[in-house]
Symmetry: C2
Subunit: 193 residues, 2 copies
């Protein structure tokens, strides 16, 4: 049994963990999820998924069980181990750092997507609020940089910069909407109990 804590797990690994938390699945099932749903940002190629599952198994985060019964070729169905659940939860509930925003928002949105089932609605809400604060800071920094440099840029460069600002502001708006959605739900539950 290998240690799971020291080594870095890449984004694809967490995507797999999150899906396996919902239902146990084979590599082939997971590939189909990536290729058929809008999770196309993750690779559905066998050369990515099967080695990734092997690594997760080596680290003790998932466990595969061979399913010989059915008529077709043997299938190996993976499910999360306790360590896998813990690792997933740790990834999701960790506080949002400024660096998390520098290279795209996909990882954070993925964390949020899995948060409710894995760590509960309270954790989802906390994640959203943390993200909202981080985004406010980030948007302010972008505006500052824009003020300083927009006059020096060609039109296409300036517009490209604006596209990044708009995308960030759009996500910030979304956090407000998502927080409102969660607070409404919590309120309903609160009044019902």
């Amino acid at each position: 049994m290998a240690r799971a804590d020291t080594k870095h797990v890449p984004a694809l690994g967490y995507a797999l963990l999150g899906l396996l938390y919902q239902n146990p699945a084979s590599g082939y099932d997971l590939r189909k999820i990536f290729s058929s749903t809008s999770m196309k940002s993750y690779s559905d190629s066998p050369g990515a998924i099967y080695p990734a599952l092997q690594r997760l198994e080596k680290r003790g985060l998932v466990k595969g069980t061979i399913e010989e019964s059915n008529g077709l070729r043997r299938r190996q169905v993976f499910h999360l181990t306790a360590r896998g659940t813990a690792e997933l939860r740790k990834w999701i509930t960790q506080p949002i750092a400024a660096e998390d925003l520098t290279r795209g928002f996909e990882d954070i949105v993925l964390r949020f997507a899995f948060s409710e089932q894995t760590a509960g609605a309270a954790a989802s809400l906390q994640l959203l609020k943390s993200l909202q604060e981080a985004l406010k800071v980030h948007v302010a920094a972008l505006h500052k940089e824009y003020q300083a440099s927009h006059k020096l840029m060609p039109t296409s460069g300036r517009l490209a910069f604006e596209s990044g600002m708009r995308a960030t502001e759009c996500l910030l708006d979304w956090t407000g909407y998502a927080i409102a959605t969660y607070e409404k739900e919590t309120h309903k539950k609160g009044s019902a109990s």
Copy 2:
């Protein structure tokens, strides 16, 4: 001199080409641009940039000239070759495919950012219109998928999906704004000439 046409150039390579088109620069200069401006999505680590420059030079897309004169350690300043300019222009002006939208929009925005200086305002406008059409199709597909699956998702999953839709719609809005900006400029120039 190696052939430049057959092999794939990664995103970092194009980012370097685009920056070097604007001004010749050393690896260190380029690293500073990546680390200090909002182009932080590209790696500023020496282990990424120096090998990338070597590869570009091997392919004949850039040429480095050593600058021994100044007091400090030797600097190697790179500039684009004719082939490098051609490759950059080819990358920027190629039509937008549906797959270009599946994994984030960063590459396309980068293409647009460099388009005006490299290929002219007409090319920028064409790129925007092509992007606008592709995004319309993509947004429609996302809506369709949402209709089909949103009832089955937990709240956080549904909201995460919505965040992706909003981001895409936001970029679509931006294309409209950017096109208007360019058409206004063209109009000005047109009436002035």
